[in-house]
Amino acid sequence: MVSTIQNTDVKQKEADRAVVVAVTSRAVFDCGADDGDEVCEVGVAFPLLQALQRVNERLLEENPSESLLFDVVLITSDSQQQQQSSRIISNTRHHGLEISRFCFSSEEDFTESLLKNNVHLFLTTDRDEAAQASQKGVFSALLNGKVASSEQLRVVFCGDAVIRTDTEPPSASQDAAQSFWAQLGEMRRRFGMLDSPLSLVLLTSRGGRESCGTALQTLRSRGVNMDEAYSLAGAPQSPILSLLRPHFLLINHLQD
């Protein structure tokens, strides 16, 4: 059973133009069992939502009638969280988060709510959830466990698998990934080189400069220009990732 509640405090986005990002509510609010306290702790995804909001604000500053905006949907699939649904909604208001819709479903059919809401990117801290959504063709990514501190929305794309060349037809989730990237690319183009509220970062772990170069070219051919690029060529990822401070990491192998 899937139900959707619209947030009347927030202007709903244009369905066919917005970039719909779904986030699991447990990553946004950590509502403990203690009912005494109305205000929940914020979760790892909280700074991300703030960053997404900032991008929207800047997009509207550039063009008040902009329709290519982030449309954030909160997914609640475990029953414990569902009991807290009113707190989730009230905390959203309390923190002034720009969440358009709240979706409630059971654990088994949360993917249905993703599909119903035309989700372009699903973010969760749960690897299994991400895999499940991926299987249904929804582009998914894992949230960065460490809370990112930058104001700027930093999206890191692990480009090693970006070149699944056109020898095989792309899977549904690869299509979803590509279209998400194209949308981000278009959004990024709304801003200049400096002082952008969003930064697109390419990271290639294996392979050398050729892999990174090919990834840069491939992405560019799809209208996505990277701000930063890092070629690790086998060097350990984690020191670099902790410097990059991504809000989320897009890794292709979740798709296959």
Binding site: G208, R209, G213, D227, S231, L243
Partner: protein, 368 residues
């Protein structure tokens, strides 16, 4: 582990006369060229390697582009770079040093095929990834073995230097160099030089000034405060007390580690790495303390040249190092005049009172 074409592989330096014009995305493996291994070796793990971080502007000549950036701003700069994407940059001041490092690597791989104790050159640039393709094309064009890079899009590269366990950082931006020094990373500022003399392609030669480069600036302070006589007195009195280490000491140490690997295979006399101390100290007096200090650190230097205050140019002309480190711009400029690639270590008391010399007009916000 790399595979070498035993008989055709030359361990000598790069063949700079045969730069070919290949399309950017062609495979870098060159089966036809005898001096290149048929399979590209894997880069070593950063903790095992001696990592040299170089900025784009010292590896390549980007003067024209730098001018566009300074006069017309970032957007025009990026536009220009993208329009000239397939046009490789010509070599910059660090180029011959990097080529020499690669030549040493080739020889090390021959002697120790399984070892990761090699030089690893990482491109550390402030540039946006828009310039990335042109930089990659240029690396391909010049057949450099650079597989790792950080294009930070305007953010500071210092954190990345640490993440890569960088042993030496070379940049045209003195602010970044100072930041690196403050983080304990050996670093020096490089400048574009009009004249670069030919250097050996069989032996990497690295020359260091002593005070405030290999050693701390403690003695220099005494000289500046109390004059030459007091300096001599002090050095004689403290002859047996080792000087404190300076910012480039650990790099000398890293070179020494690689030298020992060559000695281990019987290559002491014609070691492919040679180090020099070129100091204004004099052999008769103040030089002793310098040598004793090195010995106390367990470090060797192949040649110690005590100039007793004489200009360093003629000596450098004889040595022909691939790179020379000095803390005083006066000496750096003097070296550059005779065609030695010289870099400035902005450390110590000399920075407070620069001697006469034209300071480079770099702006710290420029992409590197």
């Amino acid at each position: 582990m790399s595979q070498n074409n035993g008989d055709t592989l030359t361990a000598r330096g790069p063949d700079l006369t045969s730069i070919s014009n290949r399309a950017p995305w062609e495979d870098a493996r060159m089966k036809l060229k005898p001096s290149t291994p048929t399979r590209k070796p894997k880069p070593p793990k950063p903790e095992n390697a001696i990592t040299i971080g170089v900025s784009a502007r010292v590896l390549f000549n980007m003067e024209k582009e730098q001018q566009i950036y300074e006069q017309q701003g970032l957007e025009d700069y990026i536009k220009y770079q993208m329009e000239h994407e397939t046009q490789p940059f010509s070599p910059g001041p660090a180029f011959s040093f990097v080529k020499a490092l690669e030549a040493v690597n080739t020889q090390l791989r021959e002697l120790y095929p399984d070892s990761e104790e090699l030089f690893d050159v990482v491109l550390m640039t402030n540039n946006h990834a828009y310039v990335g393709l042109r930089l990659i094309n240029t690396i391909n064009h010049h057949q450099l073995f650079i597989e790792r890079f950080c294009m930070t899009g305007g953010n500071s590269p210092i954190g990345y230097l640490k993440a890569y366990h960088t042993n030496l950082y070379l940049s045209s931006d003195p602010d970044k160099v100072r930041e690196a020094l403050e983080e304990g990373i050996a670093a020096a500022t490089m400048f574009t030089q009009e004249k670069i003399t030919e250097v050996s392609d069989t032996q990497l030669r690295v020359a260091f000034d002593g005070d405030a480069v290999l050693f701390s600036d403690e003695s220099e302070r005494i000289y500046k405060a109390h004059g030459l006589d007091k300096f001599f007195e002090h050095e004689k009195a403290h002859e047996n007390k080792p000087l404190d280490h300076g910012p480039l000491k650990c790099f000398l140490e890293a070179l020494g580690k690689l030298q020992k690997k060559f000695y281990g295979k019987g290559q002491r006399m014609d070691c492919p790495i040679r180090t020099y101390l070129v100091t204004a100290r004099s052999a008769a007096s103040s030089g002793t303390r310098a040598l004793k200090t090195l010995r106390s650190w367990g470090l060797e230097i192949d040649e110690a040249l005590f100039l007793a205050g004489a200009p360093k140019g003629p000596m450098l002309e004889k040595i022909r190092p691939h790179i020379f480190f000095d803390d005083q711009m006066f000496h750096v400029e003097g070296a550059a005049e005779i065609g030695t690639v010289a870099c400035h270590v902005p450390y110590g008391i000399s920075q407070a009172m620069p001697k006469k010399g034209i300071n480079d007009k770099e702006t710290s916000s420029a992409p590197k």
